[in-house]
């Protein structure tokens, strides 16, 4: 039995321009995959291919054991998704929107709809027209629409757009709960890494249509040397002594990117150089630093 979502070497071109090159990754139940990349990297295109919204040039997308190309209904049956933005019918109320979607599945009761509405925190405004909603409220309604049929796969394209920090935290908590308690496989795309830190279990970095790295977050953070921030009386001449692991920040502070075991060795070199060390801080690498290091800037070609 494979994983819940398997994306195998998918390729996609628009005209002469190849947008995706052999994109592969997989997600298992209980995992939250952060699908990270700069704007224009191919995140949304990948998601559209996974959901059958665009045709796949080559490669396969297998969801719950069904190929999206040959068994669309089987593959999409237990998938909930938001693509680009939660586009709902503006002339209907939030509840009417959810009811329309519920109509498409068997046996979704009014109580279940109410439960979902409560889950996303929209109970007070659910009978208002969507045209009166803020972007954040539409985002919540979009998540409700994606959850209404109790999917085991959730694919969310930039779901935190338009949400305030509190809203982001709520969504984050909700997704963690869904992954843990409902054992869902969740894919969440974002260009804002800070949001995904301490929240996703796996990351997959895409740039210019190619997967740069794909691993568990724990592994991912280990990939980089640890950073130590030092405060000294003077940084003069230290660059030559310490070599390329050293990054001089200003006249009295610098950064060292070295392994834990090596730090004493470098501190000794500084003292031997006649400098005074006032402070040594071990800076834990954020997902964002790790990403920037890996993706190297945001240029789009």
């Amino acid at each position: 039995m494979g994983k819940i979502i398997e994306v195998k070497k998918i390729n996609k071109s628009f005209g002469n321009k190849q947008i995706l090159h052999n994109v592969s990754f997989s997600i298992d139940s209980g995992e939250i995959l952060g699908f990270i990349g700069p704007n224009g990297a191919g995140k949304t295109t990948t998601i559209k291919l996974m959901l059958g919204l665009q045709s796949i040039d080559s490669g396969d997308v297998i969801i719950n054991g069904c190929d999206i190309k040959t068994d669309f209904e089987g593959a999409i049956k237990r998938v909930g998704a938001i693509v680009e933005s939660p586009d709902l019918y503006m002339y209907l109320s939030g509840r009417q929107n959810l009811q329309l979607i519920a109509n498409l599945y068997k046996g979704i009761t009014k109580e279940e709809i109410n439960k979902i509405v409560k889950l996303v925190g929209l109970q007070k405004r659910i009978d208002d027209k969507v045209s009166k909603y803020s972007l954040g409220m539409r985002q919540r309604l979009g998540i409700a629409a994606a959850l209404i049929h109790k999917p085991n796969v959730l694919i969310l394209d930039e779901p935190t757009n338009g949400l305030d920090p509190e809203g982001i935290k709520e969504i984050r908590d909700l997704l963690i709960k869904l992954a843990k308690e409902e054992d869902m496989a969740i894919l969440i795309s974002s260009h804002n890494l800070a949001e995904l830190d301490n929240f996703v279990t796996n990351v997959c970095i895409i740039k210019n249509g190619k997967i740069l790295s794909s691993s568990e977050v724990k592994e991912f953070k280990k990939l980089k040397n640890t950073t130590y921030k030092l405060e000294v009386d003077s940084t003069e001449g230290l660059a030559e002594v310490l070599g390329n692991v050293c990054k001089i920040i200003d006249k009295d502070s610098l950064e060292l990117q070295v392994e834990k075991e090596e730090i004493t060795e470098y501190l000794e070199k500084i003292i031997k150089n006649g400098k005074k060390i006032y402070q040594v801080v071990n800076e834990e690498l954020s997902l964002e630093d790790a990403f920037l290091n890996k993706a190297g800037g945001n240029e789009i070609d």
Partner: protein, 470 residues
């Protein structure tokens, strides 16, 4: 089963938008307004202002001038007739007024001619006496006596060997008037009988020709006249033209809606079909639908079926509005239970059907047009994803036939275009088309092929359509 859920949702969306209600309200207002206006306009009274102008012109006219005499002789009889009508307080639509307009007016005109143009005093005096005698008949006008008089005169003609068919029919109509209490007047019943005589005269004229020598147009007109005459005769034979007959009745208005793809129906089709796919693409809501466990074929088929349901519903709505407005304005709801007479062109027999059957038959006649127009607009809507453009193209399609229909017989390949074959009303009971290049098998063949091609096109386009990145 799955398709029904989708269709239900599509209908739910359509009926939660303002569009359909705006269309319905506009259709209702215009129908009601025109219905009431027609009853107001349908009034035979001469405009008083018009008479006043005549009077001014004739005032102090120098009758020594020949041109002036001519003007006087033309206008004065009209003024006289108007004054007589006013003086006698005649019902403007009644038999006395009709008698005044059709009989007395001639005598008045002749009188003025004799007096001022011919200057024949003796003749003028005779005519004046005749005129006065006729005018005196207007008080308590006895139209039956007048018709009997006419019949009496015909009897004399009969004796001297009159066998003219038209005259026979005239006699029949006079007798029918007496039996059914339909005076010669400005009533719909009376005019219906007059129309019969007109139709009979034109039929009788062609009937004397050899059909083998007729060209298509002559044959077509002859068949039409034949059918018309047969239908009238059936109604006369069965006393179906009653004295309270209304040309515009609840029945004729209700059934009439199904007879052609009118402007309102076209607007409804192109508005609903034009937006059903395009709007969801432009607003992005289509994604909510496409990530659900339904194949694209099912989604687009459900949208097309929902459009057709709304179109048929709208036609029924229009028919009811037209029927109710006509029923109220002409007090003719009882007409709905009357049978409708049709003519079978093959057996040359007349047959009847009820209001519902007649409406359904008419609907079958325009069914290809409804389907092709709807499918075409859905296709455009899916193809270009632009509501406005789909609506405009749908409209253009409906106006092409009227622009080029005269050219079909000159350029035969045109007759293979569905816009010329989609109205099969003329063929329903075995009739022929106005165009010699159009026949029923050909029309149905072209229509079926077009409909299948459009359905395949719609499914293919929708299946291949990618959700573009925003």
């Amino acid at each position: 089963m799955k398709l029904i859920k989708l269709i239900y949702n599509e209908l739910y969306k359509i009926f939660h938008k303002k569009l359909i209600y705006i269309l319905a309200i506009i259709a209702f207002i215009i129908t009601a307004l025109s219905g009431f206006l027609i009853t107001k306009v349908n009034n035979n009274s001469v405009n008083a202002l018009f008479i006043e102008t005549y009077r001014q012109e004739l005032k102090d006219l120098d009758l020594s001038n020949a041109t002036n005499v001519q003007a006087y002789v033309t206008m004065q009889p009209i003024i006289d007739a108007y004054d007589i009508s006013k003086e006698k307080k005649l019902d403007p639509n009644g038999p006395a007024q009709y008698f005044l307009d059709n009989k007395i007016s001639d005598v008045i005109t002749n009188y003025y001619n004799a007096k001022y143009v011919e200057k024949n005093e003796e003749k003028a005096k005779e005519l004046e006496e005749e005129k006065n005698e006729l005018i005196s008949k207007l008080d308590n006008f006895d139209w039956k006596a007048y018709i009997n008089e006419q019949l009496e005169q015909m009897k004399n003609l009969d004796e001297i060997g009159l066998t003219d068919d038209t005259a026979k029919e005239m006699k029949r109509v006079y007798e029918y008037r007496l039996n059914n209490d339909i005076p010669l007047a400005y009533t719909d019943a009376s005019q219906e009988l007059d129309s019969y005589l007109t139709a009979y005269a034109s039929y009788d004229a062609s009937n004397k020709k050899d059909t083998k020598l007729m060209n298509h147009n002559e044959k077509y007109s002859f068949e039409m006249a034949q059918a018309q005459v047969a239908k009238y005769q059936y109604r006369i034979d069965n006393n179906m033209i009653k004295s309270d007959y209304k040309a515009i009745s609840a029945q004729s208005s209700f059934v009439g809606i199904f007879g052609s793809v009118s402007l309102f129906i076209t607007v409804c089709i192109v508005m609903i079909a034009g937006q059903i796919v395009a709007e969801e693409y432009s607003k992005g809501t289509i994604k909510q639908l496409l990530v659900r466990p339904y194949t694209r074929s099912k989604i687009i088929i459900s949208k097309t079926i929902a459009t057709l349901i709304v179109v048929f519903g709208f036609i029924l709505f229009l028919a009811i509005v037209e029927g109710v407005v006509a029923g109220v304005t002409t007090n003719s709801f009882s007409s709905l239970t009357q049978p409708i007479v049709e003519y079978n062109y093959h057996t040359h027999q007349v047959f009847t059907m009820n209001t519902i059957t007649a409406s359904l038959m008419k609907l079958i006649g325009i069914l290809p047009e409804l389907l092709i127009l709807t499918l075409f607009t859905v296709l455009i809507s899916a193809l270009i994803g632009n509501t406005a453009l789909a609506v405009v193209l749908g409209f253009i399609l409906t106006f092409i036939p009227s622009m080029f229909s005269g050219m079909i017989d000159k350029f035969k390949p045109l007759s293979y275009l569905p816009i010329f074959t989609w109205d099969i009303s003329e063929f329903l009971y075995g009739g022929m088309s106005f165009s010699e290049s159009l026949t029923l098998p050909k029309a149905i063949g072209v229509d079926v092929v077009t409909i299948i091609a459009l359905i395949i096109g719609i499914i293919l386009v929708f299946k291949k359509k990618e959700i573009k990145n925003q």
